[in-house]
Structure formats: structure tokens, C-alpha cells
């Protein structure tokens, strides 16, 4: 026994002389000090990582049997479901993982909104995270075409046609993306390439950068105060910090088991999730001549899809009013002259464009904005404190309204349009953007409570 241990120690020494093994292990695990007061919301970062691994591993096995060919793709998925040993399990783990990836990422991002994890000094952690989110949306979109069912096909057709709406370059751009005049074999092949190699590479790089940036500045916590401010005078370690390993590795392992339990319930007993994870229409092979009566994206895209559908000719008046209000508000609040006149210039351009450009173009632009506006969070939030625990009523009210609007938009995106639904959608779209655009003012005016000296614990 002692010979084995001494042998292993020697091996470790041999590696450490050539590769920063022990030092990296210490920096990122056994001596990375994380606040001890993480709560429920802090599980979802690690769980997102777990789902990422699940997607990569199951994806590799699916790639071994899947055929990226318009004539063979649909049948090859069924081949996996029937003739490949345990193929059905691999496929369901992948399809369920895709949806649960978004569940984890949404909850992980919402944690950031709750506790101000995007605030200084974590702006880059947040921005890298947002880049991961955008990549993930691309990854999901590309992957959804691969089963080559009706919903795959027409969903891709609708989304690529959005680019067609853009002025001047739009038409050529959409053909360039598809590689054909309609979604076809060429599109399927390139989407396969993006899905299995291009985006995953980007994702892995970004995830590494996200974690590196996080470990550089240290984790935030539900109190939104810096644990590095209170260090032990002798050891210089944060008094409220505990080593990530073993404390959080063991805690996250417990979280992972509970998560996998839920994951398994879906995979084994309801992989279609009532049509939300696997849509019935996607069991019909893609047919370029038969447009399905209802084309709706998968649930995780529906809020943005609703925003797209909300931008009608009438709604342009709301946009014009919003541009005017924003211009006046910025002009009023900012004293720097070039910003004031710049704002005025931008407002005039936007107002002109609101007449020049088709509402559809605005729809595409605002849908894009709705997914990317999170990038600005570090600079929009002007609260004196980071955490919602000590923020005043303004932010608490605003985020509650925003969550409700987001959920309603998500629901509406799964339904066909009607007059009432469009009106509700437009109302929620307005609330969605108001949360962000009005944030500098309502957070600055918020009556925040004093933050504690040390983290609240038990």
C-alpha cells in the first residue's frame, strides 16, 4: 500500500515538473475559495456543465449512426431508435438534454439577475456567459434541423427567411445561409457541420473562458458582497469562503443526482414531454411542398418568437414613442455633451428608419435585441447594491413584472396568432424591453437597504 502511494506521489512530482497539474488543481478546486452561503440557485452552473457533457457524449454516439443526407436523415434517426443497441436511450438523452440545457441556463442567468452577478468586477464573466447563451441558441437551432421532420424543416425555413427581410443584403444573405433557394440537402449538411463541430468548439472555448474569468474574480453570492474584503489576518484566506473541493464538489454531486432523477423521469417516462420537447409534427418526414398549418419553435425560443410576431405596423407607434421617451430621458440625465447630441442623432435616425423600414425588419431587429440586451446588464443596473436581498422595491417590482411578461410571451409563442394574443404579446413585449431600457433610472432611484458586513449564513 505504502509503495503504491509513494509511487503515485512520485508520478505526481514527475508530472508537476512538466505540467502545472497540482497548481491548477489547487487554483480551481481544492484552494478555490467560494462563498459558503450559496443557495439553491447556485446549482445550475454546475448542472449546465453536466448537461453540456451529456450532450457531447450522446452527440458523439448519435453521429456514429446519423446520416446528414436529406434522403436518409429521417430514417437514420428511426434506425437509431430501433436497430442501434440502446440507441433510443442515447437519442432521448440528447433530445431531453437539449431542453434541460435551456432550463439550466435560464435558471443560471436568472440567478445572475437576482444577485447582481454581472456587476463589477464580474462584467466579463457575464459577457462570456451571454456569448455561451447565444452559441447555445445557435447550437439548438442547427441541431433541430437534423431529424429532418416537418417541424425541423419549416422551423429552419421560417428562421432563415427572417434574414430575407433585411434590406439590401437580406435576400442574398438568406440564400448564402441555406446554400440553396429552399432549405435542402445543402442546408442540412452545413447545419450538421455547425452542430457537431463548429459551435461545440466555440462553446467549449467560451465555457473555459467563463470559468477562468470567474475564478479570477471569485464567485458572487446571494448577499452580493465580496468575501475577499474579510480575510483572515494570518492565512489571508476569505473568512466566509470554503474550498470548492470538497465542499462544493460534494454538494453539486448531490444536486446532480436530484437533477438526473428528474432527467431520467423525462427520458424514460415522457421523452416527448407532451409535445414540448419532441413535437408530433416532427415525426412526419420533411416535405418541401407541404407547409404545416402551424409552425412554432421549440419552447425555449418562443418568448423571442412572440416578440417577433408582436411587431406590427400599429406597434411601430409604440416604438416611435419609446424612442422619443428614451431620447428625452437620456438628454435630461446625462450631462456629457457628446452623449447628449449623439443620443439625439441616433433617435432621429431610428425615427426615420421606423418609417423607412418594414415592421418585419424591426421585428427581426427587436427579436435579436431581446436575446442580446442582457449583454448590457452590467451597465444598466445602477443600484447601490448587487443582491435583490438589499435592493429596493423598484427592482423587485420590475423583475417580477419582467418574469411574468417573459413567461406570457413564451406561452403565446406556442399558440397560433389571434387579435387578442397579439395585443397581449405587444403589451408584454413593451414590458420586456422597459425592464432593461428604464433600468438605469429606476435602479438609481431605488431605496436600497444596507448590505451586511459578512455573508448571512444559516
Amino acid at each position: 500500500m505504502s509503495r503504491i502511494i509513494s509511487g503515485l506521489t512520485a508520478l505526481q512530482g514527475w508530472i508537476d515538473a512538466r505540467f502545472p497539474f497540482t497548481s491548477q488543481w489547487k487554483a480551481h478546486a481544492s484552494e478555490y475559495y467560494a462563498p459558503k452561503n450559496f443557495n439553491f440557485w447556485y446549482y445550475f452552473g454546475a448542472l449546465s456543465g453536466l448537461v453540456l457533457v451529456n450532450q457531447l457524449v450522446t452527440g458523439i454516439f448519435l453521429t456514429m449512426h446519423y446520416k446528414p443526407d436529406a434522403l436518409l436523415a429521417f430514417a437514420s434517426v428511426e434506425y437509431i431508435m430501433r436497430d442501434v443497441p440502446w440507441g433510443w436511450l442515447i437519442r432521448y438523452m440528447h433530445s431531453t438534454g437539449a431542453s434541460l440545457f435551456f432550463v439550466c441556463i435560464y435558471l443560471h442567468m436568472f440567478r445572475g439577475l437576482l444577485y447582481g452577478s454581472y456587476r463589477k468586477p464580474r462584467e466579463l464573466v457575464w459577457i462570456l456567459g451571454m456569448a455561451i447563451f447565444l452559441c447555445l441558441m445557435g447550437e439548438a437551432f442547427f441541431g433541430y434541423l437534423l431529424p429532418w421532420g416537418q417541424m425541423s424543416y419549416w422551423g429552419a425555413q421560417v428562421i432563415i427567411n427572417l434574414f430575407d427581410a433585411l434590406p439590401i443584403i437580406g435576400h442574398d444573405l438568406s440564400i448564402w445561409i441555406r446554400g440553396d433557394y429552399v432549405v435542402s440537402d445543402a442546408t442540412l449538411n452545413r447545419f450538421f457541420a455547425f452542430h457537431v463541430i463548429a459551435i461545440p468548439l466555440l462553446l467549449l472555448g467560451l465555457v473555459s473562458a467563463h470559468i477562468l474569468a470567474l475564478h479570477e474574480v471569485g464567485s458572487n453570492n446571494p448577499d452580493g458582497i465580496e468575501i475577499k474584503k474579510n480575510k483572515d489576518p494570518v492565512t489571508h484566506l476569505p473568512l466566509d469562503g470554503i474550498p470548492f473541493h470538497p465542499y462544493y464538489t460534494v454538494k453539486d454531486s448531490f444536486g446532480a443526482m436530484v437533477f438526473l432523477l428528474i432527467f431520467a423521469i423525462i427520458v424514460f417516462f415522457g421523452p416527448e414531454m407532451g409535445g414540448y420537447f419532441l413535437e408530433a409534427n416532427n415525426f412526419v418526414p420533411a416535405d418541401s411542398l407541404k407547409t404545416p398549418p402551424e409552425i412554432s419553435p421549440v419552447w425555449y425560443f418562443t418568448p423571442y418568437y412572440s416578440i417577433l410576431r408582436s411587431i406590427t405596423t400599429d406597434y411601430m407607434w409604440i416604438i416611435r414613442a419609446a424612442v422619443l421617451v428614451m431620447a428625452i430621458a437620456i438628454f435630461w440625465s446625462v450631462k456629457t455633451n457628446w452623449i447628449r447630441w449623439g443620443t439625439l442623432g441616433i433617435a432621429i435616425v431610428l425615427a426615420l428608419l421606423s418609417w423607412v423600414l418594414d415592421p418585419k425588419v424591426w421585428g427581426v431587429g427587436l427579436m435579436g435585441t431581446s436575446t442580446m440586451i442582457f449583454f448590457l446588464m452590467p451597465w444598466l443596473d445602477r443600484s447601490a447594491v448587487k443582491s435583490i436581498r438589499y435592493k429596493g422595491p423598484n427592482y423587485k417590482f420590475a423583475i417580477t413584472v419582467w418574469v411574468i411578461a417573459f413567461l406570457i410571451l413564451g406561452y403565446l409563442g406556442t399558440k397560433p396568432v389571434s387579435d387578442v394574443r397579439t395585443l397581449v404579446g405587444q403589451f408584454c413585449t413593451t414590458l420586456y424591453f422597459a425592464f432593461f431600457f428604464a433600468m438605469p433610472w429606476y435602479t438609481r432611484a431605488d431605496k436600497c437597504k444596507p448590505e451586511p458586513e459578512r455573508v448571512t449564513w444559516k
Binding site: 430501433r82 429552399v182 431520467a264 407547409t291 398549418p293
Partner: protein
């Protein structure tokens, strides 16, 4: 050209939606998963469906799931030169199919997952005589369908008689619900003009078996999925407890 077709397809979209959204209340398909029932469904399937529809993802020898041996499958369920390890390919080619019916009959491997059991169960029981159609047949849940009533020798021929609600025990309840505006049950009554070889009840059972088979064929691994699922859930539950205890143990010294 391709693009033109797509565009015209898009223009037709609203009418298409109207045509397909004919609100028909679907009867709920009885659950059929006993081997005997599935075997009966498989027999109906290979006898009546497989000549025009294929099930390209389904292998004949997979029917061992239903408790049949390869010899039994070869002897009773394969009428072509197909080998027992082959998939259920269609006898007719797609081009001919398109000529015959206006549209190539779809592959049925995953039809139950696309349409749902209730839709299939109602569809296969609501064909009626309609002289205005080229095939002489029409259908309630799929109006103007290209497919003729292939099971008519079993069900017989029926015509629509617009009249009182169908005399079923639930009818009164449904009417009450309808008055409250909850949903509108189909107020259609069929009249059998020429009886088939089965009584209406026998026919319902035969269709239920057939739909049960289609559901099975949509996902042959479903039964295995459930069995494995219980073991996995049990294992994960135990692991959750273990890791919870481990976490409590480690966190004891965090103050």
C-alpha cells in the same frame, strides 16, 4: 420553380389551415398492449395496410416482441419474398401510389407518434360513402382524403346521416358540456348501408388492435424504456440519498 411552389404553398396556407382544422372530437383509442391484441393488429396491418403503405423502419423479425417466433412471422405475416430480417417495404412504388391516390401513401413507421392513437382510431372508423370523391370514399377526420376505405369488407359501407347525437352513454354528458360551450361533439350518425364481415363492435375492436399495433410500431423500445426506467430511477434515488448524507457529513465543519 421550386421556390414558386413553396411560395404558392405559403399563399394557400390559410385555406389549408381551415381545411385541416375541421374540429372533430376524436374518440379515445382503447389501450391495447397485450401480445394477442398486438398480434391481431399486426395481422390486420400486413393484410390491409402493407400493400400501399410501407413501414421502412420496422423489421419483420422485430415482431418477436409480440411473442412470435421467426418461423411464425415468416409463415403468417410475410406474403412477399421478403426475408424475416428485412424492413416492411411497400409493395407498390411511390410513383404509382401518387398516380393512384394523388399523393404517395405515407410510411407508417412512426405514424402513431405523428397523428396520435385517438386520431388513428377515429380516422379508421369514420370512412363513409361519398360519390363525389374519385375513390367513392370520404372521411370525417381527414376530409377529402386520397385513401379509400380499405377495411370496408370488415366494416361494411356506411353513409352519413346528419341527426341526433350518437347514442352513447356519454352523449348526455357531452350535450350538457356543449350547452356550457365547452366543446362540440360530432353530431354525425352513420347508417350502415351494406354490412361487412364484422359487427360494429368487432370492427371497433379490430381497429383498436390495429391502432395498438401502430402505437407499438411507432416506438418498439417503449416497453423496454419503462422497464429500464424503474431501475434507473431506483438507482438514482439511492445515489441521491448517499450524496445527501455525504454532503451533510462534509459540511458539518462549515460554521
Amino acid at each position: 420553380m421550386k421556390k414558386l411552389i413553396v411560395i404558392s404553398g405559403l399563399l394557400l396556407l390559410p385555406t389549408l389551415a381551415l381545411a385541416q382544422e375541421a374540429e372533430v372530437r376524436l374518440d379515445s383509442a382503447p389501450v391495447r398492449n397485450e401480445p394477442v391484441q398486438l398480434q391481431s393488429g399486426a395481422r390486420t396491418f400486413v393484410n390491409y395496410c402493407l400493400s400501399c403503405h410501407g413501414a421502412q423502419s420496422m423489421r419483420f423479425n422485430r415482431l418477436r416482441d409480440l411473442g412470435l417466433s421467426e418461423q411464425e412471422i415468416q409463415a403468417n405475416l410475410i406474403f412477399t419474398g421478403a426475408k424475416v430480417g428485412d424492413t416492411m417495404k411497400v409493395a407498390m412504388n411511390a410513383k404509382e401510389g401518387k398516380q393512384f391516390f394523388g399523393v404517395a401513401p405515407p410510411d407508417l413507421s412512426v405514424i402513431a407518434r405523428a397523428r396520435g392513437a385517438d386520431w388513428l382510431y377515429t380516422y379508421l372508423r369514420t370512412f363513409y360513402r361519398d360519390p363525389s370523391r374519385p375513390t367513392g370514399w370520404n372521411n370525417i377526420v381527414f376530409p377529402n382524403v386520397g385513401m379509400p376505405h380499405v377495411l370496408y369488407t370488415l366494416q361494411g359501407e356506411q353513409v352519413i346521416k346528419q341527426a341526433k347525437p350518437i347514442a352513447r352513454p356519454e352523449a348526455a354528458k357531452e350535450e350538457a358540456a356543449e350547452e356550457k360551450g365547452e366543446h362540440s361533439p360530432q353530431k354525425l350518425v352513420f347508417e350502415i348501408t351494406k354490412p361487412g364481415s364484422m359487427t360494429p363492435i368487432e370492427y371497433d375492436i379490430a381497429v383498436a388492435d390495429l391502432v395498438g399495433f401502430l402505437v407499438y410500431m411507432g416506438e418498439p423500445a417503449a416497453a423496454e424504456r419503462h422497464t429500464v426506467g424503474y431501475f434507473v430511477l431506483f438507482a438514482l434515488f439511492i445515489l441521491s440519498l448517499v450524496f445527501f448524507a455525504l454532503k451533510q457529513q462534509f459540511w458539518k465543519d462549515v460554521h
